[in-house]
């Protein structure tokens, strides 16, 4: 897992629950916690952190990821405004996810594995999003989508009819955006 994800998680946790909570999570997870955005770290570390957070916040790990994804979006918008500025709606932004994630990850970490999204437009405001990743972080992806809707001041309804955690070979989201 890329260091940026740990950095974002730290920022989100510190912002909402204070620096001590982050320290506590690291202690609970048994991690030393020095992450740089340039580094790459074991997937197990993010799992441990998410589980620790779930225990501390009394939430499911999936909820923690959803929460994290949603809260991380404003931070991403701050760090990488160029990816957001061409868009004036969540839908068109989300359509570019592959184009953003793949090259950006590739730039910093040649050869890294990345999630793959596919899109299918159904009706005007509905989008079917496929998600496929060895890490099965579909909840994080869902959180990102919700966060993107927030960013563009939109409401969103997200259904998740197929999930890799339940044996599907890819996750499927039905997403509806509205202002």
């Amino acid at each position: 897992m890329k260091g940026i994800v740990f950095n974002l998680l730290q920022e989100v946790v510190c912002k909402e629950y204070g620096d001590d909570t982050w320290d506590q999570l690291l202690d609970d997870a048994g991690l030393d916690g020095s992450y740089t955005s340039l580094g790459s770290y074991a997937d197990a570390e993010v799992v441990a952190l998410v589980n620790a957070a779930a225990a501390a916040l009394n939430l499911s790990a999936q909820d923690v990821l959803r929460w994290f994804g949603r809260r991380a979006m404003p931070l991403l918008a701050e760090r990488y405004p160029a990816f957001f500025s061409p868009h004036n709606e969540a839908r068109s932004f989300i359509l570019t996810l592959n184009n953003i994630i793949h090259p950006e990850v590739e730039k910093l970490y040649p050869g890294a594995t990345t999630p793959v999204f596919d899109f299918e437009s159904v009706e005007g405001d509905r989008l079917i999003v496929g998600y496929k990743s060895a890490r099965k972080l579909c909840a994080l992806a869902e959180g990102f989508m919700a966060g993107a809707a927030d960013h563009f001041h939109e409401q969103t309804e997200i259904e998740h009819p197929a999930c890799m955690h339940h044996g599907a070979d890819k996750c499927v989201f039905h997403v509806r955006f509205h202002k």
Binding site: T36, S37, L38, P86, E104, E106
Partner: protein, 675 residues
């Protein structure tokens, strides 16, 4: 007991301050880390970007170098750029060869979703992108990249925007392919995302545009080379190679397709050399170019009329084989009259005067026609036969066409045999010289001889000079023959002068145009005079009007040199050519010869007699002697005497005699007449 120094009581305020200080330090460190990360990320991103750009350029350069066709290199570039920039659709437009014309909207695309953009693609291919029309047109006008974004104020200026939008695109880009400052093509791309190219992309596309421009340039150079290899640089007509290629093609079709016929016309200008020599090489070139234009116009304008039942004339070609030789290949002729009609039109068109060097020049052509119906299997054969027919047209008086027939073939064959035999003749003493006495009509005494070459062939018998002299002239053998005659005749004259003690006895020797123009005539004459030791002023060289007038300035120079050697000069065939009297006045000649055509039957044809009179008067005015040749009857001789011809030559007195017979005649004259 606790030691207060080891266990001090730290005041709460100090602890607070320490924590605040540490927090500040932590914030500083975090900020520094983030900045360092940002710098490193930027560096990595730039590096990555640069590597992507380099590999894009490398891949385009490699494709550009390998591509045999412009289209392949362009197709590769479209795909590479699309992959690089993540654009799903790219298109090529090529500038037309004619700079005033529109861009050619090619069917060369990079399309990642075949079918999906069908409507946009057909619309694009149907639009004529002239300068200023659409994005590509804007690129042509400005020679710079152009792009258009959905929602921009100028989006309505672009005819395809609504369709592009329907296809899900938000931005359109167009980049020029350049050779120097010329736009030779446009690459256009469609992006679903709203974006404007940044400086890096513009720089990159400029490099790609230059790179691809080189491919176009290379292609143009290749096409030019191919064109040059098959075309005549002066007239831009097809050359011999192109002509033979086409001919080969036609011939194969003739063998395959029943009733398919074609014709070859061999067109040769009459007296082109006279124009070239008289008015200069520039005028000669101008005439060739003008002729080429007329021939081309001749085919273009009137094919339907010429052909009757015809199926299309694109395959007819005019070619220039070289010099003043042109060929016309007529495709799919319905009947043998078709090429004749074309030939007649060519003759008519060439009969119109040309303006060269501000002068009106009249020219004509001789045309030979060969038809494919004769069943040729070799391109050289049909070309040869058209050439032979052309030669016959020339022989029959020029300014006419002739169609090849078998008889011509036989004559041509005999000519070839003559050529070969003539070369041998010179080495085997098969040539001999006859001497025809030249007589003063008053006393009937021999005053001189004209040396005439004769050829006795073991098989053909006596070959008439009219048949072999033109052959010798054409193959250049005339110079050698002429020199040989000169030597022999002078040696003979020397003997006679010594034997009969008549130092006045003269010898006339014919000099051909070829000897005059490029032989070492003066040196040769000087050597012969020296060797033979004949009396001064008794060698008379005879030149025809036409050979003198071919290059009057050169002739004048040579004449003065010959006069310097003490040689007499005589103008042969006077009145049959087209000499100008002003030239005649300048020439240092001694004698005019009245042509036999005026002498023959002059006693009964008043006009001939008058011409002879005029020639004599002219000679008197210019201080020249007159010799009349071809006098066969007493009546002709007395008429010549009346008009005042100084000397007469002809069968009436003597036919050309072998050396011994001539010698006998001289001897007889020396003895007192038997009374």
């Amino acid at each position: 007991m606790s030691d207060s120094t080891n266990d001090p009581v730290v005041p709460a305020a100090a602890v607070e301050a320490e924590i605040a200080r540490l927090n500040r330090r932590l914030k500083r460190e975090t900020a520094a880390r983030k900045e360092a990360e940002a710098i490193a990320e930027r560096g990595l991103r730039d590096l990555y970007q640069r590597q992507q750009e380099i590999s894009l350029l490398e891949s385009i350069a490699a494709a550009a170098n390998e591509a045999a066709e412009v289209e392949a290199a362009m197709q590769h570039a479209l795909s590479a750029v699309c992959r690089f920039a993540r654009w799903p659709l790219g298109h090529l437009l090529l500038a037309s060869e004619n700079p005033d014309e529109a861009l050619l909207s090619t069917s060369i695309w990079h399309d990642e979703s075949p079918g999906r953009y069908g409507a946009l693609r057909s619309l694009t291919e149907s639009i004529l992108f002239t300068a200023g029309i659409g994005l590509p047109g804007r690129v042509v006008t400005t020679c710079a990249p152009a792009w258009a974004n959905l929602g921009a104020s100028d989006e309505f200026a672009y005819p395809r925007f609504p369709e592009a939008q329907r296809a899900g695109f938000s931005s359109l880009f167009a980049f020029p392919v350049m050779i120097g400052s010329e736009v030779v093509g446009v690459l256009e791309f469609f992006s679903p995302e709203l974006q404007s190219p940044d400086q890096a992309l513009l720089r990159l596309m400029a490099q790609i545009g230059t790179q691809l421009g080189r491919v176009v340039e290379r292609q143009r150079a290749k096409l030019r080379l191919m064109h040059d290899a098959l075309h005549d640089p002066l007239t831009q007509l097809g050359n011999r190679k192109l002509f033979l290629n086409r001919l080969q093609h036609f011939m194969q079709r003739a063998q395959r397709v029943a009733n398919y016929q074609f014709a070859v016309l061999f067109v040769d200008l009459d007296r082109f050399k006279a124009v070239n020599d008289g008015l200069g090489h520039q005028a000669g070139d101008d005439l060739i170019v003008a002729t080429a234009q007329r021939l081309t116009a001749c085919l273009r304008g009137t094919d339907l009329v010429a052909r009757g039942n015809d199926t299309g004339s694109e395959d007819d070609i005019v070619a220039r084989l070289g010099g003043d030789e042109f060929t016309i290949l007529l495709d799919n002729i319905g009947n043998p009259q078709a090429p004749v009609r074309v030939a007649e039109r060519v003759l008519a068109m060439l009969a119109e005067p040309f303006t060269l060097e501000n002068q009106q020049v009249f020219i004509s052509a001789s045309i030979g026609i060969a038809l494919s119906s004769s069943g040729y299997t070799n391109v050289q054969d049909i070309l040869r036969d058209a050439d032979i027919a052309m030669y016959h047209a020339k022989q029959h008086g020029r300014a006419r066409w002739m169609m090849f027939d078998q008889d011509m073939q036989e004559k041509a064959l005999r000519r070839l045999q003559l050529e070969a035999a003539l070369r041998v003749a010179l080495q085997t003493d098969a040539l001999t010289i006859y001497y025809q006495p030249i007589v003063s009509p008053g006393d009937g005494l021999i005053r001189g001889f004209e040396a005439l070459v004769r050829w006795r062939h073991p098989e053909y018998g006596l070959v008439p000079p009219a048949e072999f002299i033109p052959v010798a002239e054409e193959i250049g053998l005339i110079v050698e023959i002429g020199n040989w005659v000169l030597e022999q005749a002078c040696a003979c004259l020397s003997r006679w002068q010594r034997t009969y003690g008549c130092a006045e006895l003269a010898m006339s020797v014919n000099v051909s145009a070829l000897q005059l123009s490029d032989g070492d005539l003066v040196g040769q004459v000087a050597r012969v005079l020296e060797t033979s030791g004949i009396a001064h002023g008794t060698l008379k060289l005879e030149l025809t009007e036409s050979s003198v007038m071919a290059d009057p300035d050169h002739s004048l120079k040579i004449f003065h040199m010959l006069k310097g050697l003490g040689v007499q000069l005589s103008l042969d065939d006077f009145g049959t050519g087209y000499s100008s009297l002003s030239h005649l006045r300048r020439l240092p000649i001694d004698t005019l010869k009245i042509d036999r055509s005026f002498v023959s039957k002059m006693d009964s044809h008043e006009d001939k007699r008058q011409i002879a009179e005029v020639v004599v008067m002219l000679a008197r005015t210019l201080g020249l002697d007159v010799v009349a040749e071809g006098a066969e009857t007493a009546a002709e001789v007395s008429a010549l005497q009346e008009v005042g011809s100084d000397f007469v030559q002809g069968y009436f007195y003597y036919k050309p005699l072998e050396e011994q017979a001539a010698s006998d005649a001289l001897c007889k004259q020396k003895s007192p007449p038997v009374t």
